[in-house]
């Protein structure tokens, strides 16, 4: 599992939460909020889906670490490694 894989996972989750968003142009270095119409309810859902699907916990104080795909990769990668999530 690489950071790129983690970004893909996050992008897939966003695709499920917000099927009406076009995700093909998302730049991984830019804030998700600036590129997509995502509000705090949607960010909560990203956190909730990470827990539901992968058992990964993101405490409220760390929500800001999910602001771009790159920062998601950085922040979540160690958590995924720790969980030993295998990619199908």
């Amino acid at each position: 599992m690489t950071k790129e894989d983690v970004k893909k996972i996050v992008l897939n989750i966003i695709g499920e939460i917000a099927p009406d968003e076009d995700l093909t142009q998302v730049k991984s270095g830019l804030r998700l909020r600036d590129q997509l119409e995502l509000d705090s309810m949607d960010f909560l859902d990203i956190v909730m889906e990470l827990r539901k699907k992968y058992g990964i916990e993101v405490p409220e104080d760390d929500y800001s670490r999910l602001e771009s795909l790159d920062s998601c990769g950085e922040y979540l990668h160690p958590k995924f490694m720790q969980k030993g999530v295998a990619l199908a």
Partner: protein
């Protein structure tokens, strides 16, 4: 600290939701989706609450639904409808929404048209009130920039705030009347945040209706809840919320059973819920019981309304320049109200409702209606139906009732008594308590309010309320 999860001897739930109305169902879907062990308890045999439907003499009637407010076209983001669909993981198409044809606000000597394109309303205001052009633009700017859904907004009078910008009292009343009718629990005014919620949902957004009416929405919600494993018991009211100090201990049901839950979300109303609590006197919240109730009559016709020349979707009317939105002294106050023609939506080729419907709503006095002996109650229903029908025909431009009478198949009427019966709202209060608990908290730990008395109203609003309360009080705190 970890709380107990899962079901203990089949009678323990992580969350119990009181009420299978729009807000309870939406909250239930959120919780079931995230794997919570959740149970919805509903006193009636049908789901939907205020927005339900019933069959009478083989005919299906909608209660509530005139128009689903908050309609936006696909692709418009960041509005309540889009949020609800995302949060419930529902496809927009599942609601099968069709847009209104057009609506009017009618006051003596002046009317304003509006539809789902805000430009029409804007141009109408400027046409009828040219001297208020700049002020109206200022009001729009204020509304656009206002965060009406913040859960910590202070309660302020919409009338006072609007009067700081708009000077013509007639325009103020013409803007307020439809918004009060579709969502104010206060007499002749509303909370400013609520005003902004309603303004956006009627004028920036708009009206739509599923071809099959409200049952389409209820069906979708029930199916979603079920497929996620949510549990529901109908004809199973909550009689008492048993407390242990200031914490929920158990729920006693109408049938005598008890159920325990970590947390309870109630859509039964703020005062109604507090009075269910074992240690609360029956006078709790006496000063926060809504006074706004209504009667509605439905006339079923064997013709499409358009064949009578009636093209409107919704009409909001007032006979007086100073509109009255208050508990009437008599049984009914016919001086203002709402006329709804559910046939007049753009359902598309080949889709016309089987019959014509003309629905009229006016404010009514709960005490007066409930004091009537049965015989007089029935007679008064008929009498007021006729008064309101005459009124509506006049507004719609039909000169004599004889033009319409031969086409009437049947009529049905509900009163404040009916509202109380089907929603449990004290005093048959249409929009619940005048003072809301916007963050859903109650003095009791683990007991929360969603729906009408949290303060997001309407079908979409109620769903958003259930979602927000489930997120805030159940899903989020575990971190």
């Amino acid at each position: 600290m970890e709380r107990t999860t899962g079901s203990i001897d089949g009678n323990h739930y992580e969350t119990v939701i009181i009420g299978a109305g729009m807000s309870g169902l939406a909250a239930g879907i959120r919780l079931a989706y995230f794997g919570k062990n959740v149970l919805i308890l509903e006193r009636h045999n049908a789901a939907g609450g205020l927005n339900s439907f019933y069959s009478f003499q083989g005919r299906k009637y909608d209660v509530g639904l005139h128009a689903m407010t908050n309609f936006v076209r696909s692709g418009t983001k960041g509005t309540p409808l889009g949020k609800v669909l995302r949060q419930l993981r529902l496809e927009r198409e599942s609601f099968d929404l069709s847009e209104q044809k057009g609506s009017r606000i009618i006051f003596p000597g002046v009317e304003l048209q509006f539809n789902n394109d805000f430009e029409l309303f804007e141009s109408e205001v400027i046409r009828a009130f040219p001297h208020e052009k700049d002020n109206f633009a200022k009001l729009i700017e204020l509304i656009r920039s206002f965060n009406e859904v913040a859960l910590d907004n202070e309660e302020t009078s919409a009338r006072v705030e609007i009067a700081k910008i708009i000077k013509d009292p007639l325009l103020i009343d013409m803007i307020l009347l439809p918004l009060m009718y579709y969502g104010s629990a206060q007499e002749n005014d509303m909370d400013f945040s609520q005003f902004v919620v309603m303004f956006k949902s009627l004028f920036f957004e708009g009206f739509a209706r599923p071809f099959e009416g409200v049952r389409q929405i209820i069906r979708v919600l029930l199916k979603r809840y079920k497929e996620l494993g949510g549990q529901r018991k109908m004809k199973c009211g909550v009689k008492q919320i048993i407390l242990d100090k200031d914490q929920v201990k158990a729920l006693e049901l109408d049938n005598g059973d008890t159920i325990t839950a970590d947390k309870v979300i109630s859509s039964a109303g703020l005062v109604e819920t507090l009075r269910m609590c074992s240690d609360h006197p029956t006078t709790t919240g006496n000063d926060n019981i809504g006074r706004i109730s209504c009667m509605e009559t439905t006339t079923v016709l064997n013709k499409e309304p358009s064949e009578f020349g009636w093209e409107d979707t919704i009409l909001f009317f007032s006979d007086q320049a100073k509109a009255e939105y208050a508990c009437p002294k008599n049984l009914v106050d016919p001086r203002s109200g709402v006329v709804c023609l559910p046939n007049n939506y753009q359902y598309g080729e080949g889709r016309t409702l089987e019959e014509g419907f003309l629905r009229i709503t006016a404010l009514a006095n709960f005490d007066k209606w409930t004091q009537l002996p049965e015989e007089e109650y029935q007679a008064s229903k008929k009498e007021w139906h006729q008064v309101l029908l005459d009124k509506a025909l006049h507004l719609l431009g039909t000169k004599t009732i004889q033009d319409v009478q031969p086409h009437v198949i049947t009529t049905d009427i509900f009163t404040p008594r009916t509202i109380k019966k089907y929603t449990g709202h004290l005093a048959g209060a249409l929009y619940g308590a005048p003072h809301k608990t916007r963050d859903g908290r109650t003095p009791i730990k683990d007991l929360f309010i969603c729906g009408t008395d949290q303060g997001f109203l309407g079908i979409v609003g109620a769903m958003l309320s259930g979602i927000s309360m489930a997120n805030l009080h159940i899903l989020q705190p575990s971190s």
